[in-house]
């Protein structure tokens, strides 16, 4: 995993250089966080890029995993409890926060049950692939305040590509588990990923048309301009304001992508038990669970960067705003989970192929025409 980071950054550096010369536009550094870490350590050149990249990746990955640790065992319970008039965890530590430690110990100390007949290498690799595909996506997310690990020209495409690797992990988990519920869950996951990833990316492409770039920092930068001024208050040109329709489409497709109500088809407890993760226990289960939550936050991060102006916001520092926006998306997923029934699998796919796909292409074409006329 780490080695690929280095390759990535080297590749980016060259890619950026060509771009800078071709476009003649001043580009921000290709790897802001890595560069500043290297600068702090007084290193430069290849050594600086490697050390800075590794330390940067370490920091980002840990921040995200810590976020997930708060979200999974604690925040999720608290939020759901608030929606259902309950109190939830409040016995261990202040506000029950130490339940995170207790749960971590509990989950990790459980027996890892390997069912008879599982397809061994695939079954073991799947729980690693799923969380790390989401972590990979965070490499290009502009957290603001200079916290961006890498900023390649193709940042957005990289984020989607990395996140899509999770589908592979889900298939591996579903197929290798030697369980029919897992198989059904894996098949459903693939069907839903294909059906909703296209609208997701096509909708994101409409933003790219607006911004004129795939580079994440640029997409964020474009949104800082003022859209309209009302009574002295400048409304920034966040794409959620510019094109709310695309924003709604993106959020919906995102919900399906991360498998949350009303689209929690791949897991569908009460129908297919737990879908692709039915046979996983202990550490493997923790990894899958972690993967799901990191995916939710990645979805939130993409929504924040593409539509909500990234780290922009008054008073507070940029990365705090970005973090808040990610959590807002998480809150939204939990809200949907508490209040909205699940669609049936065929209705879900119908909505994807016949509804979302058409709407997202309509959005793309309209955006292209508008941008072509105005610009």
């Amino acid at each position: 995993m780490k080695a690929s980071w280095v390759l990535l950054q080297n590749g980016n550096a060259t890619g950026n250089a060509t771009n800078a010369t071709a476009g003649g536009v001043a580009r921000p550094p290709s790897a802001p966080l890595a560069d500043s870490i290297a600068g702090m350590l007084g290193l430069d050149g290849v050594v600086g890029a490697i050390v800075g990249g590794l330390i940067g990746a370490f920091i980002i990955a840990n921040v995200m995993m810590a976020t997930t640790a708060v979200a999974g065992p604690w925040a999720k319970r608290k939020i759901t409890a608030a929606f259902t008039d309950r109190i939830a965890v409040n016995r261990v530590g202040p506000f029950g926060l130490l339940i995170i430690v207790a749960d971590a110990v509990r989950l990790l100390s459980k027996e890892l049950i390997v069912p008879d007949g599982v397809d061994r290498p695939a079954w073991d690799i799947a729980p690693i692939v799923i969380p790390f595909s989401a972590l990979l996506g965070f490499a290009v997310i502009p957290f603001g305040s200079g916290l961006q690990l890498a900023d390649p020209e193709t940042g957005l495409v990289f984020a989607f590509a990395a996140a899509s690797i999770a589908s592979l992990g889900v298939v591996m988990a579903g197929y290798a588990s030697n369980n029919k519920y897992s198989l059904l869950g894996g098949l459903r996951a693939i069907a839903s990923n294909i059906a909703y990833e296209i609208p997701l990316i096509v909708t994101a492409a409409s933003v790219v048309i607006f911004a004129g770039t795939l580079q994440m920092s640029e997409i964020v930068a474009v949104q800082q301009q003022t859209l309209i001024e009302i009574g002295g208050v400048a409304i920034p040109q966040w794409f959620a304001f510019v094109n709310p329709f695309a924003f709604a489409l993106f959020i919906l497709a995102n919900l399906a992508e991360i498998g949350r109500n009303p689209f929690d088809i791949p897991e569908a407890p009460t129908e297919i038990v737990a879908g692709f993760q039915t046979e996983y226990s202990s550490v493997y289960f923790v990894l899958l669970y972690l993967g799901e939550f990191i995916h939710i936050f990645l979805g939130g991060a993409l929504a924040a960067a593409l539509f909500l102006g990234g780290p922009s916001g008054p008073v507070l520092p940029g990365f705090v705003w970005f973090y808040i926006k990610m959590w807002a998306f998480f809150l939204f997923t939990q809200w949907a989970r508490s209040a909205v029934p699940r669609l049936r699998v065929d209705q879900f796919l119908d909505a994807g192929w016949k509804g979302m796909l058409v709407l997202s292409f309509a959005n793309l074409v309209l955006t292209a025409i508008l941008v072509g006329v105005i610009v």
Partner: protein, 554 residues
């Protein structure tokens, strides 16, 4: 009471007197063996189908509510308890004796589909064999069980150990057929949506259900035999609480109380009847709340808001029931001839609690309607799924909200009145949708009707004269009904018609105690509703049936 007069145009063919019915099937009737509730016609084992179909078409007895099997010293006997959906007090029993050495009898399955499971149970527990039965397997006990536990010569000491090789192994090795693209899937006995230990042997074509075969009996606790070993007066009453244990305890107790009170001619004071009615309707609300909550759980997919709200409101009812009976789960509150104790003191506080609950209920119901019945996604999920046409429902003996959701206007509280129901003002809720949504909607609206009944009961109890509060009539300590009296009596339980068949032998214990469980019959309709639909619809249909395995398996 606000029931409409039966519409004369859809009246059944009018052969309703006992003799007129006998004339219809006179060629088969060997003799009369009248029960306390209905005339009984003894017919030959090879004339079962003829007799039943004649009675069904000519006498309007279109509801086979129960099949009781039992063994006498000299014969086996199958009793088909027939009723009319239009008028449940119009009843008849068809008694089919079979010889000891060759207990064979014709199956009734072609006439009433519900006979399928009932006869399997009769074979399983008593040992009568039904010729031409489409599926002559055991139903409650494992296939490898030795002997028939309710037969007279059953050896309880006999070990039930059979070689492992003879057990059907549910976890068979991977097997692939040559043709076809179907997949076999065990849903349950441990699965989040089976509401207990139900096992559905499902054949899937992709995600669609080709066939589903419910496998029950995991929770069989020999309730019938336990009751046969208890004395009428005290020892049986605690057990009904354990059939439908989803807070429907008082409704179950009433089923037994009604049967034995009619059999032993025990009067129940009016005051006690009002308390019984009050308690029973509270139980119905609690049971329906849970049914609605778990149905939402099946469709929503998680322990989400609607489930929690339903449980929260059910909790209020549970607290009232706890005040009334002293128990939360196993009430044991009814006694023969009344109830065990009077309303809790101070009475004003108790009434106040109930009134508070009733005042809050409309708002809670509004919330349920917002979250469930008016939710578009839920409507897309439930409307026109799990369709159960009324004719099919009748053939399977479906009752309760399942029947009323198929437009069958059948409610024993109104049609075969007991307790204080006929003095009160309330309506029977029906819906013609026949689908999962209708069954849910019927339950939601029945909550309102139950609340109406409770409110009237509270009004009555508040003004009840101080000097006339008899909670129990004078009942002898030992009850010995007359020898060989037989009765079948049913009440409207939370899930439907909960009936008890009793046969006395002159002692203080029943010679046969048969429970007609509404869930048992309702569950039988599951394949009809689910074949050809998706797995999520199968799960939703199962949830809409609202079964309790404690009552299915007994």
């Amino acid at each position: 009471m606000s029931l409409e007069e039966p519409d004369p145009t859809d009246a059944v063919p009018a052969a309703t007197s006992a003799d007129a019915m006998e004339a219809l099937v006179s060629e088969h009737v060997l003799s009369r063996d009248d029960h306390l509730n209905a005339p009984g016609y003894v017919v030959r084992p090879d004339a079962v189908q003829d007799t039943l179909s004649t009675l069904r078409t000519e006498a309007g007895l279109d509801h086979l509510s129960c099949v009781t099997a039992q063994e006498y010293e000299d014969r086996y006997e199958s009793i088909y308890h027939l009723k009319s959906y239009d008028d449940p007090t119009h009843e008849a029993s068809v008694v089919v004796p079979t010889p000891k050495d060759d207990p064979r009898s014709q199956t009734a399955e072609p006439v009433f589909r519900t006979a399928d499971w009932h006869e399997r149970e009769a074979y399983d527990l008593v040992g009568i064999e039904y010729e031409d039965h489409p599926d002559p397997r055991r139903i409650l006990l494992p296939e490898t069980w030795q002997g028939h536990p309710l037969s007279l010569n059953y050896d309880q000491e006999r070990p039930q150990i059979v070689p492992l090789s003879e057990h059907a192994n549910p976890l068979q090795d991977d097997q692939r057929g040559d043709e076809g693209e179907t997949m076999f899937l065990n849903i349950g006995p441990h699965h989040p949506a089976t509401h207990g230990v139900l096992h559905l042997k499902t054949t899937l074509d992709g995600e669609q259900v080709v066939d589903v075969d419910p496998d029950i009996g995991y929770l069989h606790r020999c309730e019938e035999q336990i009751c046969q070993n208890g004395t009428y007066r005290y020892q049986i009453m605690p057990y009904p609480d354990r059939w439908d244990y989803i807070s429907a305890g008082l409704l179950n107790e009433w089923a037994y109380a009604r049967a034995i009170e009619d059999m032993a001619e025990i009067e129940v004071p009016e005051y006690a009847q009002v308390i019984r009615t009050l308690g029973a309707e509270l139980c119905r609300i609690a049971a329906h709340m849970l049914a609605i909550g778990t149905f939402a759980l099946d469709v929503y997919g998680d322990f989400t808001a609607i489930f929690m709200y339903a449980v929260r409101d059910r909790e209020k009812v549970q607290n009232i029931l706890e005040d009334l009976t002293g128990q939360r789960l196993m009430f044991n509150y009814f006694r023969l001839g009344g109830v065990v104790w009077d309303l809790p003191e101070p009475r004003e506080d108790f009434f106040e609690t109930i009134r508070d609950f009733l005042d809050d209920l409309p708002q809670a119901l509004e919330e349920y309607h917002d979250l469930i019945s008016q939710n578009e996604i839920l409507q897309v999920r439930t409307v026109d799924t799990g369709v159960l046409p009324p004719e099919v429902a009748k053939s399977y003996g479906a009752t309760g909200p399942v029947a009323r959701g198929s437009g069958i206007d059948y409610d024993l509280r109104r049609d075969d009145p007991y307790g204080y129901y006929d003095e009160l003002d309330w309506d029977v809720v029906t819906d013609d949708g026949c689908d999962n949504y209708s069954r849910l909607f019927v339950r939601l609206r029945e909550l309102e009707e139950s609340a109406k009944i409770i409110e009237q009961c509270v009004d009555l109890l508040e003004d009840w004269p101080e000097d006339n509060r008899t909670i129990q009539s004078n009942v002898p300590r030992t009850i010995r009904p007359e020898d060989d009296a037989e009765i079948y009596r049913a009440v409207e339980g939370a899930k439907g018609e909960l009936g008890i068949y009793l046969r006395s032998d002159g002692t203080e214990k029943p010679a046969r105690f048969k429970i007609r469980s509404p869930c048992f019959s309702n569950l039988q309709t599951l394949p009809e509703m689910s074949n050809g639909e998706y797995i999520p619809d199968l799960v939703a249909s199962l949830g809409s049936l609202d079964i309790v395995l404690g009552e299915v398996d007994r």
